[in-house]
């Protein structure tokens, strides 16, 4: 394999790691949005009392 192929593979690894991290952020975000929605519903309910 040529040097450039190794370079390509190395960079592919780097970006795979970065995108795995982005996926992680996306997961955390969806979790937070769900939590906030729940909290909002709860606060509305407590207002009704």
């Amino acid at each position: 394999m040529s040097n450039l192929t190794y370079l390509f593979i190395a960079y592919a690894f780097i970006w795979t790691a970065i995108f795995l991290y982005l996926l992680n952020i996306g997961k955390k975000l969806s979790f937070m949005q769900r939590e906030i929605k729940l909290l909002k519903e709860n606060s509305h309910k407590s207002e009704d009392f």
Binding site: T16, F19, L23, G26, L29, M32, Q33, K40
Partner: protein, 225 residues
């Protein structure tokens, strides 16, 4: 995980890997500059993304001043952060390419100088955002500065160009645009596309984070009151 996050992330992952393949394996090695020229495929798209990001800052700022909607302010802040990230990449990769090719890290050429001043302006923009007391007023300050900062870009570029053309121009052998091989042009286009998709994804994630943070703040105030 929510599909609205999964799809853009996967899409930009595929785009970036394709761009890497084209930049490292598909594009031919440049005859005079050698492999170092491959920096070009990441340098130019980064510059493009940073300009796009600052353009979004300007548009979002105008929209914020007109409507007063907080979401526009969040969009401007998100875009500015990503823009600063990419302009920093431009300023770091540029000298790495220039040193072996022009035999100097830096010249005060119009494009280089403008990028540098742009970096300073948007660092100032982010500092301004974090240094205000009153959040609502701070958002308006940032919007005003965001608009002037972007309008300043062509003015800075023109002024530096007039300044440089009246001086002996530094020798710059074969920069981009002049006789680019079709494979190279193709690679550049793919890299530009990939970076744009990456920008959109990052902006979306950052924007949603900002929205969650404000919602959170609102809830907190509601509970405290």
């Amino acid at each position: 995980m929510d599909k609205k996050y999964l799809i853009p992330i996967l899409l930009s992952y595929v785009a970036i890997l394709t761009a890497l393949y084209f930049a490292f394996l598909y594009a031919p090695t440049e005859r005079t500059m050698g492999d170092v020229q491959r920096i070009f495929y990441f340098h130019v798209p980064s510059a493009w993304v940073s300009f796009l990001a600052f353009f979004v800052v300007c548009i979002a700022s105008i929209a914020f001043l007109r409507t007063g909607k907080e979401s526009w302010d969040i969009l401007a802040a998100s875009s500015a952060e990503i823009g600063v990230l990419f302009i920093t990449i431009v300023l770091l990769t540029g000298p790495m390419w220039a040193k072996p090719v022009w035999n100097t890290f830096w010249t005060w050429d119009a494009r280089l100088t403008t990028s540098f001043i742009l970096w300073l302006i948007y660092i100032a923009y982010l500092m301004l955002r974090s240094y205000v007391h009153d959040k609502e007023r701070g958002a308006r300050f940032a919007a005003v500065f965001g608009i002037i900062g972007f309008l300043d870009v062509p003015i800075v570029y023109m002024s530096i160009r007039w300044w440089r053309t009246l001086h002996p121009a530094p020798v710059m052998g074969g920069k981009q645009g002049s006789g680019l091989a079709p494979e190279m042009l193709m690679t550049l286009m793919i890299c530009l596309g990939a970076f744009t998709v990456l920008f959109a994804t990052l902006l979306f994630l950052r924007y949603k984070t900002g929205m969650v943070a404000t919602e959170f703040e609102r809830l907190k105030n509601k509970i405290h009151s």
